[in-house]
């Protein structure tokens, strides 16, 4: 191919400016010494991260109890989601790659559905269904089943409903590449099934399992639509930030966004490292 013309190259440059402009702006105004996240530039400050609130009347995010609680809620959701996504995702991968059973083609198509259903719909359908179960069980058992009402448990289930598809795809793709003669050799040498699984198959899958876990962690932390519908009084970080945004933007939100971007960047780098090792 010949060289791209100047106008073509300028177009590509403009595209990348467009791509990064919103992120750069968010990051920049987290450090602006002003009560509003807007120009002009009033000087560099870390007040919106570590400040006590003496300067702007609002504490920095690392000293803001509401922000820290929201972060804690995010962890309470993301850790179980990640754990379930890798355990169940590994089981699904073995089911689809190793077993034959009637209806397998249908099941593997159905597993893709949660990716194409809008998050809001996943949220309302799980909300409506769990409420029906709660209503009928509560009347029958004569006790309150609060975990089936909006709250952390439902958020975990709602996020898991589509994150599990992704972890299944990631781990399944790796299992497909596995050379089964390695397992057979181990069986021939007298190894038990459990031992083969623990010493040969799972170590081979480890990069995919770690990668799927990191992706699950990130998607859980950042999920908004499904979470918004199923959330109770314990709002995780994105929902709390959304509430704050509606009250008016402050640079504290930029600071929180900056921390989220750093976290996401770190996870993304880890995923890239894990998958580059996988390629070897």
């Amino acid at each position: 191919m010949g060289k791209a013309s100047l106008s073509f190259r300028l177009y590509v440059l403009a595209f990348y400016l467009f791509l990064f402009a919103p992120l750069v702006v968010v990051a920049l105004f987290a450090f602006n010494a002003s009560p509003f996240p807007a120009p002009p530039w009033k000087g560099f400050t870390l007040e919106w991260f570590t400040g006590t609130g003496a300067m702007f009347g609002k504490p920095g995010i690392l000293r803001d109890p509401a922000m820290l609680t929201a972060f804690g809620n995010s962890l309470k959701i993301a850790l179980p989601v990640t754990f379930l996504a890798i355990v169940l995702g590994t089981m699904n991968a073995f089911l689809l790659e190793r077993r034959e059973f009637p209806g397998k083609a249908l099941l593997s198509i159905m597993m893709l559905w949660p990716l194409v259903i809008p998050g809001v719909i996943l949220g309302i359908s799980i909300l409506a269904f769990s409420s029906r179960i709660a209503n009928s069980l509560e009347a029958w058992l004569n006790m309150d089943l609060d975990f089936l009402r909006p709250g952390l448990f439902l958020v975990i289930l709602g996020q898991l409903s589509f994150i599990l598809t992704i972890s299944t795809l990631i781990i399944g793709a790796r299992l497909k590449k596995f050379d089964r003669s390695l397992e057979e050799a181990a069986y021939d040498l007298g190894a038990s099934r459990l031992r083969v699984l623990l010493t040969i198959t799972l170590p081979f899958l480890k990069p995919a399992i770690v990668g799927a876990g990191l992706v699950a962690l990130l998607m859980s932390f950042e999920n908004f639509n499904t979470t918004l519908i199923l959330v109770g009084s314990d709002a995780p970080l994105p929902i709390y930030m959304y509430g704050q945004m509606r009250e008016g933007a402050t640079p504290a939100l930029n600071a929180a966004s900056f921390v989220m971007m750093l976290g996401a960047g770190l996870l993304a780098t880890l995923v890239a490292l894990v998958s580059s090792r996988k390629a070897e």
Partner: protein, 302 residues
């Protein structure tokens, strides 16, 4: 003579066969619980809810009342049609903006710049949708960066409000869809042989005819895959319309949210939910039929 069928069924009676069956049972149970309890039954539930209409307090009958309500109330189907048309527009704009970039990455970038440019497209999408939307708010607001720069450069005399309009809404949605267009397009264009393009020029083709006769037909699977994903994501988007859209132009997901959460009218909200599913699967099905592509392959490609 040994009948292979009898042999096979005899084997299932051995302990190995039983273990095999137990293993399958243990593996298939979580998958069935997941899809059954979190995906299928909840959708059956909103299907049933959408068909129950209220005739008095706490008294419901079965009927299509919620769907008639959707058709008879202009604000509902206006929002629906607006969401559908704007989503198609957003998909088209995303395709037009992304195509040259994908072409550049796949065919013009050389050496190390190719993976770097590709990776740079992915980076913004590791940030939360909420964060990206916040960034656009800060750029486009009356007191925002773009307005500030316009005044500083002397182009505008007073602050310019660019937020809360259909323009800012479309901009935000296009931005959110771009990655999902660039990745399949780049993958599709990668496999195009340079010799094929050069042959087009040698035969006297202009830039435009080479693009139309060689490059675009080759990229078609990528175009379809990207368009489908972008359309589905756009229709189902919630944050971008809420934050960047105007006050008098709702998105259909906002209608669903307000029926479910604000007004607590679950049957009506469920009917809307079904309409949205119908819209997104309907248009996707149409797109696949028109271009002769399969769903699973298309989804896997992205």
């Amino acid at each position: 003579m040994a009948n292979p069928k009898i042999m096979a069924s005899a084997r299932t009676l051995t302990s190995e066969g039983l273990g095999e069956r137990l293993g399958l049972f243990l593996l298939i149970t979580p998958a069935i619980l997941w899809l059954g309890l979190l995906v299928i039954l909840p959708h059956v539930e909103i299907g049933i809810l959408s068909l129950s209409q209220r005739i008095a307090a706490r008294v419901y009958t079965i009927g299509f009342g919620n769907y008639f309500e959707f058709l008879s109330e202009p604000i509902y189907w206006h929002t629906f049609a607006r969401t559908a048309l704007l989503s198609i527009l957003v998909t088209a704009i995303t395709l037009v903006i992304s195509f040259p970039v994908a072409l550049y990455i796949a065919k013009f970038a050389v050496g190390k710049s190719k993976p770097i440019l590709f990776l740079m497209c992915l980076i913004p999408f590791w940030a939360s949708e909420l964060v990206r939307t916040l960034g656009w708010m800060m750029l486009l607001r009356e007191a925002g960066v773009v307005s500030f720069l316009l005044q500083w450069a002397g182009i505008a005399g007073k602050p310019v409000e660019m937020l809360y309009s259909d323009g800012s809404l479309v901009l935000g949605l296009v931005y959110g869809g771009m990655l999902f267009m660039i990745v399949p397009l780049t993958n599709a264009l990668e496999s195009l042989e340079n010799a094929q393009i050069e042959a087009g020029y040698d035969l006297g083709g202009t830039n435009f005819t080479v693009l139309r006769k060689i490059i675009i037909p080759h990229a078609m699977p990528g175009i379809v895959a990207g368009a489908i994903i972008v359309f589905m994501l756009t229709v189902g988007n919630f944050v971008t319309p809420v934050m960047l859209g105007g006050k008098n132009g709702l998105w259909f997901t906002e209608q669903i949210y307000s029926q479910f959460i604000t007004r607590f009218n679950w049957p009506q909200g469920s009917a809307f939910g079904f309409m949205l599913l119908l819209l997104s699967t309907g248009i996707v099905w149409l797109g696949l039929r028109l271009t002769g592509q399969g769903f699973s392959e298309t989804l896997r490609r992205t």
